[in-house]
Symmetry: none
Subunit: 130 residues, 4 copies
Amino acid sequence: MLLHVNAGDELPIYRQIVRQVADSIAGGRIKPGDQLPSHRDLAAQLVIAPLTVKKAYDELEREGLIETQRGRGTFVRERPPATVAAESRERLREAARRLLTQAALCGVPFEDVVRVLEEAKEKTTERTDS
Amino acid sequence: MLLHVNAGDELPIYRQIVRQVADSIAGGRIKPGDQLPSHRDLAAQLVIAPLTVKKAYDELEREGLIETQRGRGTFVRERPPATVAAESRERLREAARRLLTQAALCGVPFEDVVRVLEEAKEKTTERTDS
Amino acid sequence: MLLHVNAGDELPIYRQIVRQVADSIAGGRIKPGDQLPSHRDLAAQLVIAPLTVKKAYDELEREGLIETQRGRGTFVRERPPATVAAESRERLREAARRLLTQAALCGVPFEDVVRVLEEAKEKTTERTDS
Amino acid sequence: MLLHVNAGDELPIYRQIVRQVADSIAGGRIKPGDQLPSHRDLAAQLVIAPLTVKKAYDELEREGLIETQRGRGTFVRERPPATVAAESRERLREAARRLLTQAALCGVPFEDVVRVLEEAKEKTTERTDS
DNA sequence: GTGGTCTAGACCACC
DNA sequence: GTGGTCTAGACCACG
């Protein structure tokens, strides 16, 4: 799994990690059961403090995407339990709302939003295929 | 111009204002030459500290989007740089990407994403009508 | 709000804080809208590191019990939103399951569990009244 | 003796074993003189490392609940100290307290807590019957 | 080896 | 003043 992090970014480092790992799972680049690097290793690789990576892992665990086992490591979850799935759906609706809001702010009509979405999908697919 | 602000949001209040004004210009809802409310009035309307609005206006002026004329008020600049619209569009694409990631995590196929989007649109329309 | 913390306890310090604050809200000793002490102040009062208190506040916010506003402080939430309420109900059911499990392990029949519950309730009420 | 163990649990695996054995003694499901499975067998049954079970047995022996006889096996001690049952009961009371706190946070009145408990009981019974 | 917790300090941004 | 983030180190417990 390749991650890169930018200290000067608007987004805090730990959230950049959260998002990239979530994207990696969503894109199928890492699969259920896969083990993530230890937060110490990843920290060394990214040249940041271990606690920063741990904070990211903690958030991913709270979201039900990964699972940590003391003394063994952290792994991508098999399948999120029902309550987590419900929250996840709510986040989906929230993301839909935000997209619509932003479209309205840009003066982009609904039909074009779907086109923007399709374009984004193509790029994601390319990324996954490579 | 209708603005709304959320104190609990991840984005600082003053940046929420910056974005909404910038998007309003990009979307054509306010046009070059239009006058913005005084930062005191806007602060009163949003029930926040005047300094916060001032900070937002300052940033908008630094970005070249608006112009303050001492004793007269603040106005939308003529020929706002093309970058404004571009940045607004980029935020739209980013929102689309996030929606797709979240959909993948939920196991929701692309066709259904469009349906979720339509449902969200209906609710928004209802809300707007009332 | 009176909190006490025990470094030698089985439960991590930050979880002790989470529980005591949650109990305080549940017991009505602090009410919606009330401001909590800043995490720095509380840390000084308890003679622990500020980050430890912050971790507790973060968890309470995630659970939807409190709300933080940058630059202003942290407050007890008015009413948890729907999704949070759902999770909260699930935690309730989980707590019920644990109680039954423990009762089975102790060899305590169901009728006596209700009595244990009533005794616990009386003590809680006393605590709240004082 | 039926034990089950959860790697993802907050409580370390070896302490889960300690508790379940202690509670089994307190609940009378295993009696003084009864022989426990060897730590290797139990480890195989629970699909965990033998060392983990050994650690649990060591702690149980330190607490005076069980006794290892070299070359013969490990047995429940005669006249286990009264504290065992007391601790088990204390865990029961603690579980009751948590249930009440969670109920208060959900705004669920005491009468309904009993109903939630009954519902949980039914489900457990169904599960046990199957 | 792994994760879990805690410390003491720093710097920043927000209000 | 407030919260938000990050660091560099420590110690412990677990498997």
